[in-house]
């Protein structure tokens, strides 16, 4: 991708991916290896490898514009710190990343010119990647080249074929959106409603998932199947809990109670330590991190639920999911105390009522047994 970014004119190499690879002298065998790995990356079954090969061969390189708003650059870091293999660079070689203000060599007017040129040239066909949330509170909270995030997003979205929202900030507002949300941060889908949006949440998202989504678009020229909150089902189809290798401990009722007890050392379930695995949908349990080396739960830390909306406001990372988020015992004690007073008052009312009944009671005699 560096090759592309070094080109300051903003144009992209033309031709199909097959032609690009051929011109690079990539052998068919290498290409097959690339396809196999891509299939694995896209979480597609291996039987689809030949189909992927055929599709990739004829794929055209799309222009990609990457916008970064209120974010920490963690998403970009995640992507660029992914193992710099020739395989993944092939994926990036097969797109034309025309604008990414963190990565591109161009700056200032030239950079913006590149963006505008790419948008114009590929109007209706380019992919828009967004990381970071958009502040609605005051346009001055976050600007690029004097343009507010909101303006840049709406303008860039007009000609986009599709938008990929990368990271929890772009997908659901993320940490800027967390209570009390001082900037009025919102997600991409809160602003753009007339374009297909793929949400790739995570704080940050797994790099392979980002490339996987790109590969899917590249391979099939279409968006992958999405779940009810816009996430590709291939990666977000199952909860962490369902795919967690520690799940059998949950089922057996074996839990780590603290971070340094026997259960923690034996690798038991982290539910009691606040693991959000049961309510979090992501691919960490299978894809893992750092090139498949490990992932948070394997390292002994509960899942934070970072790929879910509002994960920052979920009542505390170390509070188990089944626990109330607020201090209920205090509530209960106050309620009981208040109710005791109320109960005493009602009790007095009841006794008063009974006393009144006793007072108006006149001794019953045999003359009172029949109605007149």
């Amino acid at each position: 991708m560096k090759k592309d970014l070094s080109k300051k004119d903003g144009t992209s190499e033309k031709g199909t991916l097959g032609e690009v690879l051929e011109s690079r002298g990539v052998s068919r065998r290498s290409f097959m290896k690339f396809c196999a790995t891509t299939a694995s990356m896209m979480a597609l079954p291996p039987v689809m490898i030949p189909m992927i090969a055929k599709a990739l061969e004829n794929a055209r390189r799309p222009s990609v514009i990457w916008l970064s708003f209120q974010e920490c650059t963690g998403c970009t870091e995640s992507l660029t710190r992914a193992h710099t293999s020739s395989i993944e660079s092939l994926i990036f070689d097969s797109i034309s990343l025309d604008y990414h203000h963190t990565l591109q060599a161009a700056a200032g007017t030239a950079a913006e010119a590149a963006r505008e040129a790419a948008m114009e040239e590929n109007f209706g066909n380019y992919l828009l990647v967004v990381d970071g949330s958009i502040p609605l509170g005051n346009p001055g909270y976050s600007t690029i080249a004097g343009i507010s995030n909101l303006e840049m997003l709406t303008e860039s979205a007009k000609g986009a074929a599709a938008i990929i929202a990368v990271g929890t900030c772009a997908t659901y507002g993320g940490i800027p959106h967390a209570n009390p949300n001082p900037t009025g941060a919102v997600s991409v889908k809160d602003i753009i409603t007339d374009k297909p949006i793929i949400n790739v949440p995570g704080c940050p998202p797994i790099p392979v998932v980002i490339t996987g989504v790109l590969a899917h678009y590249l391979t099939f020229g279409s968006l992958p199947e999405l779940d009810h909150i816009g996430r590709p089902k291939a990666f977000y189809g199952q909860s962490i809990h369902d795919r967690c290798y520690r799940r059998p401990f949950y089922d057996k009722g074996k839990f780590a109670e603290t971070f340094d007890d026997e259960g923690a050392r034996k690798g038991w379930c982290l539910f009691k330590l606040g693991c959000k695995g049961p309510t979090t949908y992501n691919a960490c349990a299978t894809t893992k991190w750092n090139g498949g080396f490990s992932w948070p739960i394997e390292a002994g830390h509960p899942c934070l639920g970072c790929s879910e909306p509002d994960f920052w406001d979920g009542g505390g990372f170390y509070k188990a999911l089944s626990m109330p988020t607020e201090n209920l015992s205090q509530t209960a004690v106050y309620a009981a105390a208040g109710a005791a007073a109320a109960g005493a008052a009602i009790g007095a009312l009841n006794r008063g009522k009974k006393n009144a009944s006793n007072k108006i009671h006149i001794k019953t005699t045999i003359d009172d047994l029949r109605k007149d």
């Binding site: 065998r29 694995s40 291996p46 290798y245 394997e298 390292a299 002994g300």
Partner: protein, 139 residues
């Protein structure tokens, strides 16, 4: 079994994926024998506990054939102790594993010479012969 650099133990309890996977391999081998149908299992699609992959590889063992590719980084391909069951590991140029498959087939396709490569090989060879660039004359 403890492959983690952290002090996290992975006892024998963490092997529940091993058996089902081996059963799947056996079933695929049966299919191969009966109908000639080949299968591939993507080891990346299974949520393996630390140490499980090693157990699977250890169980499958190594057989007679062992090949090494140099294509976009190295790849290691060998037939396991069970004929027809192959293990394919793709590495990138930094020697990190990028994907790993168990393939149940007579010979993995990727080992075979590819049609397109043979075509360009033929062209290359022809060109080399024509331009006398084979360098055999000056021995």
């Amino acid at each position: 079994m403890n492959t983690s650099p952290f002090n996290i133990h992975t006892g024998s309890e963490l092997t529940w994926n091993v058996q089902p996977l081996l059963f799947e391999v056996r079933h695929a081998l049966e299919e191969l024998l009966d109908s000639g149908e080949t299968s591939i299992i993507d080891l990346r699609s299974i949520p393996l506990a630390p140490g499980e992959e090693e157990t699977i590889l250890k169980t499958l063992g190594q057989g007679e054939v062992h090949a090494r590719l140099s294509a976009l980084g190295p790849s290691e391909i060998y037939e396991t102790r069970y004929a027809g069951v192959w293990l394919i590991t793709h590495y990138n140029e930094e020697q990190a594993i990028v994907s790993r498959f168990i393939e149940i087939t007579k010979i993995p396709d990727i080992l075979k010479s590819q049609q397109e490569d043979m075509s360009s090989a033929l062209a290359e060879l022809t060109q080399a012969l024509e331009s006398q660039e084979l360098g055999i004359q000056d021995t």
